[in-house]
C-alpha cells in the first residue's frame, strides 16, 4: 500500500490528470455560489424583517445583547459541543471500519470494541459528574 504511494509520489507529475474532476467540482461550486448570490441580489425581492436578518442556523446570537445571560453564551454549551465532537469522531472511525469489516476480521472487531469502550469511559465520566444536567 505504502509502497504504491511512494512510487506515485516519486514519478513525474503526469498523473495529476486524475485530479481534474476535483478541479471541475471546485470551479462548479464557485460558479454556483457566485451565480446564485449575484442573481439573488439582482432579481430577488428586498423585504427585510427581524427573522430574516438573524444569522442562519448558527446557534444563539452572541451579540449585542442575547436573550439570556447578559452577553455570554452559557458554558453548558461547551460540554454539549464536546460531547458532540466525541461522538462525531467515533462515527468517523466507525464508518471506515464498517466498510471493511470483512477484511479486518476478528482483530478489527476487538479493536473497534476497545475503541468504543474507551469512548464509553469518557461518556460515563461526563454522565456521572453531571455534564448532562442542563442547569
Amino acid at each position: 500500500m505504502v509502497g504504491d504511494v511512494s512510487v506515485m509520489a516519486q514519478s513525474s507529475g503526469s498523473d495529476l490528470g486524475s485530479y481534474l474532476p476535483l478541479v471541475f467540482l471546485l470551479a462548479l461550486g464557485a460558479i454556483f455560489a457566485g451565480v446564485s448570490a449575484t442573481l439573488g441580489a439582482l432579481v430577488g425581492p428586498k423585504r427585510y424583517n427581524r427573522a430574516k436578518l438573524e444569522a442562519y442556523e448558527c446557534g444563539i446570537e452572541p451579540s449585542p445583547q442575547p436573550v439570556v445571560g447578559g452577553g455570554r453564551v452559557p458554558v453548558a454549551y461547551y460540554l454539549t459541543a464536546m460531547l458532540f465532537i466525541l461522538f462525531d469522531i467515533e462515527m468517523v472511525f466507525l464508518y471506515p471500519f464498517a466498510v471493511s469489516a470483512d477484511a479486518l476480521g476478528v482483530f478489527g472487531l476487538v479493536e473497534i470494541v476497545l475503541f468504543i469502550a474507551t469512548v464509553g469511559f469518557a461518556y460515563a465520566y461526563v454522565w456521572r459528574r453531571g455534564g448532562l444536567d442542563w442547569n
Partner: protein, 521 residues
C-alpha cells in the same frame, strides 16, 4: 443493484503484537482508563485514596513488567504493531528513566502534608479572586483527576520515545501534552498565574503541534511514507528535490524543540514552570524533557542521519542559542522557579550537543545526561515546594536568604542539587556533562563544546549565587519557614538526591546500560 456492491476486499493481516514488550505502556493506559471510571463512580470522600493506590500500583506494575522484559529482551531490539513502535535498548533505557521519574513525580503530586488538601485546587474553572475562589482555597478538596491525567501523560511520553513513525509520534505528542496543559492550571495558590500558564502552554503548544504536523505532511510528500526508516531510505536514494525534505525536517524540528524547551523555542518555559503547581513543574521538567529528547534522538539518528551535513549547522545555532539564552537570562531571574526554568533551557542546549554528535557515544551520553538531569531537577522542585510562608510557596530569591540557619538540611540538599546542575565533580551532573561534551569533541564539534563550557560556567554563577544567599546572608525577619514534608515528598526528594549522588560516584553501570545498543527500525 449488483453493480453497486463493492468488490470484496482482500483480508488485511492483523499486526504482530509483542505484548510482553509493550506491557508497561498498556498497564499505564489501562490504569488511566480505570482512573477515569473511579472518578465517575467512586464517592468523593474515597476518591483520593483510590486514585493514589491505583496510580502507584500502576507505575509499580509497569515497572515490574518492564524489569521482567528487560532481563531477556533481544539485544537488537524489536519493532511491533506494524513497525510503528520500536522497543530497542535506547527506548528501554528511556522507559526505565521515565517510570522511575514518574514514580517520583507521582509521589510529589499525591502529597497532602505540605499544603493542606494537596497542591491542587478542587475546581479550576472558578474565576480567581471571587468569593467562591477564596472559599475553595480554604477547603481541603482537590481535583483527583490529576492522577489519571498523570498516567495518560506518562504513557504518552513512553510511546513518544519508542515511536518509529511520525504519525505515532504525533499521537503520542498529543497524549502527553493535553493532560499537561490541563494540570498546569490546577495550582491551589496563585490561581491567576496558574490559569495564565495553562492558557499560554496550550496556545503555544497547539501552535508547535501544528508545526510538527505540517512538517510531517511535507515529509510524507517527499518520501511517500511516515516511517522514519522509509524517510531515511528516500533521502539516501532519491533524485527528487530536497525542498520538501528539508522544509519538512525544519518544521518537524520546531515542534520537537518546543516540547524539549530548547531555545529559541523556549518562550513558554519560564511562565509555565512558574505558574504550574510545583509537583507538575517537577513532572514536566523531568519527564517531558526525557521524552522529548528521546524523540529528538530517534528522529535525528534514524530518519535524518544520512543528510546530517545539510542540517547540522542549523541545529548548532539552535544549541548555541539555547545555551546562551538559558545561561544569560538565568542570571537576571529573581524567582527560583523561573531560574530553574532557564537552567532547564541551558541544559536542553547541552543535551542537544550530545544529540547532534550522531554516534554511539553521543547517544549513550545524551541518555545518561537525561537520567541524571531528570532526577536532579525532580528533587530540586520537590525542595522548592517546601519553602513556604503564609501565601504558599516562597519562590522569590530574597526570601531564600539565610535559609541555612532555619533549615540546614534543606539548604544542604538544595545546595547539592544546584552543584549537580552546575556540573561539579562527585555529582551526576559532572559525569553527564563530561560524557556529552567528550562525544561532541570526538565528533569534531570542538567550537560548540567550548561554547557549552563557557555557558555552563556562566550558569554555574547563578547556581552558586543561590547557595551563597542561603548560607551567607542574614535571614529576613518575616522569612518563610521550611515545612517538614510527609512520607511521599520525602521519598521523592530522597530518590532524586540519592540517584544524583550515586550516579556521581559510580556512574559506570548506568553508562554501560545506556551504551548497550542502538535504535531498531
Amino acid at each position: 443493484m449488483l453493480a453497486l456492491q463493492p468488490p470484496p476486499q482482500a483480508p488485511i493481516d492483523a499486526p504482530q503484537i509483542e505484548y510482553s514488550a509493550i506491557l508497561p505502556v498498556l498497564i499505564l493506559l489501562g490504569a488511566a482508563c480505570i482512573g477515569v471510571l473511579v472518578e465517575a463512580f467512586v464517592s468523593k470522600a474515597s476518591r483520593w485514596a483510590a486514585q493514589v493506590t491505583l496510580s502507584l500500583l500502576a507505575i509499580l506494575g509497569a515497572g515490574l513488567a518492564f524489569v521482567l522484559y528487560v532481563t531477556d529482551s533481544p539485544e537488537r531490539g524489536l519493532t511491533t504493531l506494524y513497525r510503528t513502535i520500536a522497543v530497542d535498548r535506547p527506548a528501554l533505557f528511556l522507559w526505565g528513566t521515565l517510570l522511575a521519574l514518574g514514580l517520583g513525580a507521582l509521589l510529589l503530586i499525591a502529597d497532602r502534608t505540605v499544603e493542606r488538601g494537596g497542591a491542587f485546587v478542587a475546581q479550576a474553572g472558578i474565576r480567581p479572586g471571587t468569593v467562591q475562589d477564596r472559599a475553595q482555597m480554604a477547603s481541603g478538596g482537590m481535583q483527583t483527576e490529576v492522577f489519571p491525567l498523570t498516567l495518560f501523560a506518562l504513557s504518552g511520553m513512553m510511546i513518544f520515545c519508542a515511536a518509529n513513525d511520525l504519525l505515532t509520534m504525533f499521537i503520542a505528542l498529543e497524549v502527553l501534552s493535553l493532560p499537561l496543559y490541563l494540570m498546569c492550571g490546577l495550582a491551589r495558590r496563585r490561581r491567576l498565574i496558574s490559569q495564565e500558564s495553562a492558557v499560554k502552554y496550550f496556545l503555544l503548544g497547539a501552535f508547535a503541534s501544528a508545526f510538527f504536523l505540517y512538517g510531517l505532511a511535507l515529509l510524507y510528500g517527499y518520501a511517500g511514507s511516515v516511517k522514519l526508516a522509509d524517510i531515511a531510505n528516500a533521502a539516501a536514494g532519491s533524485a527528487a528535490s530536497d525542498t520538501l525534505l528539508f522544509g519538512g525536517f525544519g518544521l518537524l524540528v520546531v515542534g520537537l524543540m518546543f516540547k524539549a524547551s530548547v531555545g529559541p523555542f523556549h518562550a513558554w518555559t519560564p511562565d509555565v514552570y512558574q505558574g504550574s503547581p510545583t509537583p507538575i513543574t517537577a513532572f514536566m521538567a523531568a519527564c517531558t524533557k526525557v521524552a522529548a529528547f528521546g524523540g529528538i534522538l530517534r528522529v535525528l539518528t534514524v530518519g535524518f542521519e544520512s543528510t546530517s551535513w545539510e542540517w547540522r549547522g542549523v541545529l548548532w545555532v539552535v544549541a548555541v542559542a539555547s545555551m546562551v539564552i538559558g545561561a544569560v537570562l538565568g542570571l537576571t531571574q529573581t524567582d527560583i522557579k523561573r531560574m530553574l526554568a532557564y537552567s532547564s533551557i541551558a541544559h536542553a542546549g547541552f543535551l542537544l550537543v550530545g544529540a547532534l554528535a550522531l554516534r554511539p557515544e553521543g547517544l549513550s551520553g545524551t541518555l545518561f545526561y537525561l537520567l541524571t538531569y531528570g532526577f536532579t531537577t525532580l528533587a530540586a522542585f520537590g525542595a522548592v515546594s517546601l519553602v513556604r510562608d503564609s501565601n504558599g510557596e516562597a519562590t522569590h530569591l530574597s526570601q531564600w536568604a539565610g535559609l541555612a540557619k532555619r533549615s540546614p538540611v534543606l539548604a544542604w540538599v538544595f545546595a547539592f542539587l544546584l552543584l549537580a546542575m552546575a556540573g561539579i565533580p562527585l555529582t551526576s551532573g559532572f559525569i553527564g556533562k563530561f560524557v556529552v561534551f567528550s562525544a561532541g569533541i570526538q565528533d569534531g564539534m570542538a567550537p560548540l563544546v567550548v561554547i557549552a563550557l563557557v555557558a555552563s560556567a556562566v550558569a554555574a554563577f547563578f547556581y552558586l549565587r543561590v547557595i551563597v544567599l542561603m548560607f551567607f546572608s542574614d535571614p529576613a525577619p518575616d522569612g518563610p519557614t521550611v515545612t517538614v514534608p510527609g512520607t511521599f515528598t520525602t521519598a521523592a526528594i530522597t530518590l532524586g538526591v540519592l540517584v544524583t549522588l550515586v550516579l556521581g560516584l559510580v556512574p559506570a553501570f548506568a553508562l554501560d546500560w545506556a551504551g548497550t545498543g542502538t535504535f531498531a527500525f
